[in-house]
């Protein structure tokens, strides 16, 4: 129990630059390996895939089912359509991704507010935790599509002064439905994380719940909150994309995802553009939480295994 024994618990995250470089190198290699496997299978595999019994367990290798990786990449740099004003595909995808990113960010913020509020209530009253937590977990088994029409319909009825409900707001609300969940659970865990020793210390100072929250619980929750925020950000993006498809909102990546999927018979490589776009979008959203983590690094001085 000496200082030496405590040492492994301390943070020693930042690896040496050489190690970081190796990491990235292998990461890129990993993607290349997937691409190589794709092409290898496409080259060697039977046209109609591998069928065992009734089930096809390995995919067909037609250009329709598995376009060449280089075709997918090349397609990104060709114009979306023959129309003279058409942008290259990658630009169209990038613009749509930005729209979705903006909406997902709003949904994420709403999810943070709702999730954190729920966590506070559950931390404050144990009975609230028992009563609400099972429902919060169950809430995620309700398919989004079941209430997309309800959200849009109720939203369209809101009109306060100059404020009018917009389509994208419905999408943001639906996105927040996926985002709030990890945040509520993570924040609750974080708010409950201070040791008895710390809460009793606050009690010995004669301070109440609010000050304890401000000075102890919220700072202590940050190591738990950051992964929750990252998951929430990824969820918000997925939710926004699905909600765009579901409500038919224009301009976002969900829209072009189904649009290009519809054109996949004649232009199979095109459909992969928005798929890559949505992956990059999700990674960017999740990755941007890392910046927050860097800002708050002093609150992450102790490792958690949550």
């Amino acid at each position: 129990m000496t200082a030496e024994n405590l040492a492994p618990a301390l943070r020693r995250r930042r690896g040496a630059p050489a190690r970081e470089a190796a990491r990235w190198g292998y990461g890129v290699l990993g993607i290349l390996v997937i691409a190589a496997l794709w092409e290898l299978y496409k080259f060697l595999g039977p046209v109609d895939g591998v069928v065992i019994g009734e089930t096809r367990v390995l995919p067909r290798t037609t250009d329709l089912a598995m376009p060449h990786t280089w075709d997918m990449v090349a397609r990104l740099f060709e114009p979306v359509t023959r129309s003279s004003t058409a942008n290259p595909l990658w630009l169209e995808v990038a613009l749509a991704a930005l729209v979705t990113l903006g909406i997902a960010a709003v949904g994420w913020l709403v999810g943070i507010v709702v999730g954190f509020a729920l966590a506070l209530v559950m931390q404050r009253w144990r009975l609230a935790e028992w009563g609400l937590l099972p429902w919060i977990i169950l809430s995620q088994t309700v398919p989004l599509i079941a209430f997309a029409p309800v959200v849009r319909s109720w939203g369209s009825r809101i009109e306060i002064g100059a404020f009018e409900w917009q389509d994208w707001m419905s999408v943001a609300v639906i996105a927040s439905y996926l985002a709030f969940f990890p945040i509520a659970v993570g924040a609750l865990k974080g708010l409950q994380s201070p040791d008895t020793i710390h809460t009793e210390l606050m009690r010995s100072y004669g301070v109440g719940w609010w000050k304890t929250l401000l000075k102890l619980r919220i700072p202590a929750s940050i190591p738990y909150l950051l992964p929750a925020l990252r998951l929430g950000a990824a969820n918000a993006v997925v939710g926004a994309v699905v909600a765009e498809v579901s409500t038919g909102m224009q301009g976002g990546i969900g829209r072009i995802l189904i649009q290009y999927a519809g054109q996949a018979s004649g232009d199979p490589a095109k459909a992969w553009g928005p798929i890559f776009g949505s992956i990059v979008l999700g990674l960017a959203a999740a990755g941007s939480v890392a910046i927050l983590g860097a800002i708050l690094r002093n609150y992450r001085r102790v490792e958690i295994t949550a």
């Binding site: 977990i137 020793i197 994309v241 990674l283």
Partner: protein
């Protein structure tokens, strides 16, 4: 040895267990009651948001269809969960054994974690055929793979240094080390991953049905019912899907408890 005795042992154990069950039930009843009241008395249109009574009515009326649809979706989710979990565990074992594989798999797994089902479903249907359930099972499998992989990998990294030293002291072979220390240490983490994956598998298998394939599952019926404004029936299928999710969650939770029985954490 210090002032760190948990408070909760103080309240009577029985009362706590009762409250733990009663509280969520009470919350559920209050919400359902308010909902019913709002719809039947409060003047909120029961067209888009049908009353709980109407939903229960449809649930009973279409019970055989509820059961068969739950069976179809449930089987897809189960197969996806099982195969996804197995792949997750195997790949995590590889990644734990070799740094390069770990680093190589990182961007792929991170991508899988953020890819929406809407994006994947049409592609998988093209690749594996729209006339089989395989596309949905594959989606459920991919959705399950991610949390199982991440948790299992973490589990494989949890081996205590003291246990590792001990195995070295006993001059144990690699196989013995894996069998006696590495695997048992990882098991609770694997099951935590599977529990998280269970809900994802159900929701993914269900949503995948929206984007093509054979009909008859819960997702297809929710959309078909909603498209003809049969909202009470659509919500009855939603209730069935919630129950399916709950079933998966409870079974995997029980497995997790079983796997961690009689163990001290930390």
């Amino acid at each position: 040895m210090a002032l760190t005795i948990p408070n909760r042992s103080r309240s009577s154990a029985n009362a706590e267990t009762t409250l733990r069950v009663a509280a969520p039930v009470a919350v559920g009843l209050i919400v359902l009651g308010a909902w019913q009241l709002l719809v039947s008395v409060g003047g909120v249109s029961d067209y888009l948001l049908p009353s709980p009574a109407a939903i229960v009515g449809q649930f009973v009326e279409f019970f055989p269809s509820m059961v068969s649809a739950t069976g179809i979706t449930g089987l897809n989710a189960l197969l996806g969960l099982v195969v996804g979990s197995i792949l997750g565990i195997l790949l995590a074992a590889l990644a734990a054994a070799s740094r390069p594989i770990d680093w190589m798999s990182a961007p792929v797994v991170a991508s899988l974690a953020v890819i929406p089902i809407v994006a994947l479903a049409p592609v998988l249907n093209s690749m594996f055929g729209a006339d089989s359930q395989f596309g949905r099972q594959a989606i459920a499998g991919l959705a399950s793979f991610v949390p199982v992989f991440i948790n299992t990998l973490r589990g494989f990294r949890q081996t205590l240094p003291v246990h590792r030293d001990l195995m070295k002291v006993y001059a144990a072979s690699s196989a013995q080390i894996v069998r006696t220390v590495t695997l048992p240490t990882a098991v609770p983490f694997v099951f935590t991953g599977i529990r998280i994956a269970s809900s994802l598998a159900v929701i993914s298998a269900l949503v995948a049905e929206y984007f093509g394939g054979p009909r008859g599952g819960l997702g297809g019926l929710i959309s078909t019912s909603a498209a003809s404004s049969a909202y009470p029936r659509a919500w009855a299928y939603v209730v069935a899907s919630i129950m399916l999710g709950l079933l998966f969650f409870l079974v995997t939770l029980a497995l997790e408890r079983l796997a961690t029985r009689g163990r001290q954490r930390s």
